[in-house]
């Protein structure tokens, strides 16, 4: 019985929505620059996903703690300073312990600062809600992002290199699809994935909105 009750708590709903109905990539189409650029190998995708999740959670925590003393007019700059501080620490950790991944991600680690998901969660959630919910919300958005990133990366890595997490899984005669490792592959896979997930969630855009 307890399990069923858990389902209807605010915690559970925030978590579920972050991955499905409020998924930052599939529904709002935010933060896609890094999602496309680093998703040609699963290990890069996991590192990037965890980095973004950490940055969202840490800055949600900070912003939520000080939400009552931030003056309304300078709030965006405040978010930026908090976010970039955590991004600098993520980059320092990557360079100290995971040098190959830091090399592969390159400038894209720094670009977490301008990832709209992070900023969006601060503005839409952390600035108005207590600390515990902000943390859960940050975790949910981060996981929604990581989930899409890893799925896209898995498809691209299998098709482009015939491997998954550097383990050969296609037969040796597999002809690598070079285009999947490059930018167009990312666009196609993500476009089709968004289509598929929207079809599954029954979320459609109103064509009139996009016309104007």
């Amino acid at each position: 019985m307890k399990l069923i009750r858990v389902k209807y708590t605010k915690w559970y709903n925030i978590l579920k929505d972050g991955i499905t109905r409020n998924n930052p990539i599939v529904i709002a189409v935010l933060g896609i620059c890094s999602a496309l650029a680093v998703s040609n190998r699963v290990e890069n995708a996991i590192a990037m996903g965890l980095g973004v999740t950490f940055v969202i959670m840490a800055s949600s925590l900070t912003i939520s703690l000080i939400r009552n003393i931030i003056p309304q007019r300078v709030r965006i700059v405040t978010y930026m300073v908090v976010i970039s501080t955590f991004v600098i620490s993520v980059q320092a950790v990557l360079q100290a312990f995971f040098m190959p991944i830091a090399d592969a991600l390159g400038a894209y680690v720094g670009l977490i600062i301008t990832n709209c998901i992070v900023m969006g969660r601060q503005e839409a959630f952390a600035a108005k809600n207590p600390v515990k919910y902000s943390l859960v919300d940050g975790f949910a958005s981060g996981m929604g992002y990581t989930f899409v990133l890893v799925v896209v990366a898995a498809i691209r890595e299998i098709l482009a290199f015939g491997t998954l997490l550097n383990v050969q899984i296609m037969s040796v005669t597999w002809e690598n699809w070079v285009v999947m490792a490059m930018a167009p592959g990312g666009f196609f896979v993500l476009g089709l994935l968004i289509w598929g997930m929207r079809e599954a969630l029954k979320y459609y855009e109103n064509p009139e909105q996009t016309k104007s």
Partner: protein, 193 residues
């Protein structure tokens, strides 16, 4: 001189910041619903990116000489936010006509990854000042080309084609971008001299 022209041309074509490095996607997808808006956003980006590239280069030299390069993210983003704010006030006061045509896009630019990316790329690639200027201008014009191309295609598409429901709007924009990106990869190996 030739290396500067080469940096400029390749940042327009085979190193295009939008279609090859996949940056600045959020505004690219969100604002490319009509050619008119795309043009306004494109011009605003050209202004801001060129300006911040030129401003951030000496600042990075300063950081290098004081050995505080690990702070570069923080310093760059504050410079960018300040430049955008200043440009907005300057245009509103002195060039109101220009401000009315693209002023509304300016606040959106602070979170455009292109602006920060250009600053991070010139650090990674060790560009000189003139090269940085050419690279920032070329990249931003390249981004403008991409958004106008995409907007033109999307505008026609919403008028004349019958898409599956789940594909309307943003999903189809990705497929179109993929095809555009394939076309721009065709520029690889382009050599001028």
């Amino acid at each position: 001189m030739s290396s500067i022209i080469e940096i400029f041309v390749s940042s327009l074509t085979d190193q295009n910041i939008a279609l090859i490095y996949i940056l600045g996607m959020c505004p690219l997808i969100a604002i490319s619903t009509s050619v008119k808006n795309a043009k306004g956003m494109g011009i605003a980006v050209v202004f801001v990116v060129t300006l911040t590239g030129i401003i951030n280069w000496p600042i990075y030299e300063l950081l290098k000489s004081t050995e505080t390069t690990q702070l570069s993210f923080l310093v760059f983003i504050i410079t960018i936010a300040a430049t955008v704010q200043f440009l907005e006030m300057f245009l509103a006061k002195f060039v109101p006509k220009l401000y009315n045509s693209f002023g509304i896009y300016l606040p959106l630019i602070t979170v455009n990854c292109v602006v920060l990316a250009v600053s991070l790329f010139f650090v990674n690639r060790d560009y000189s000042f003139v090269e940085t200027a050419a690279f920032s201008f070329g990249s931003s014009v390249g981004w403008m080309i991409a958004i106008i191309l995409l907007a033109g295609l999307r505008q026609k598409m919403t008028q004349f084609s019958n898409l599956p429901k789940g594909l309307t709007g943003k999903a189809i924009a990705f497929i179109v971008l993929g095809i555009l990106s394939l076309a721009f990869i065709g520029f690889t190996g382009l050599s001028l001299f």
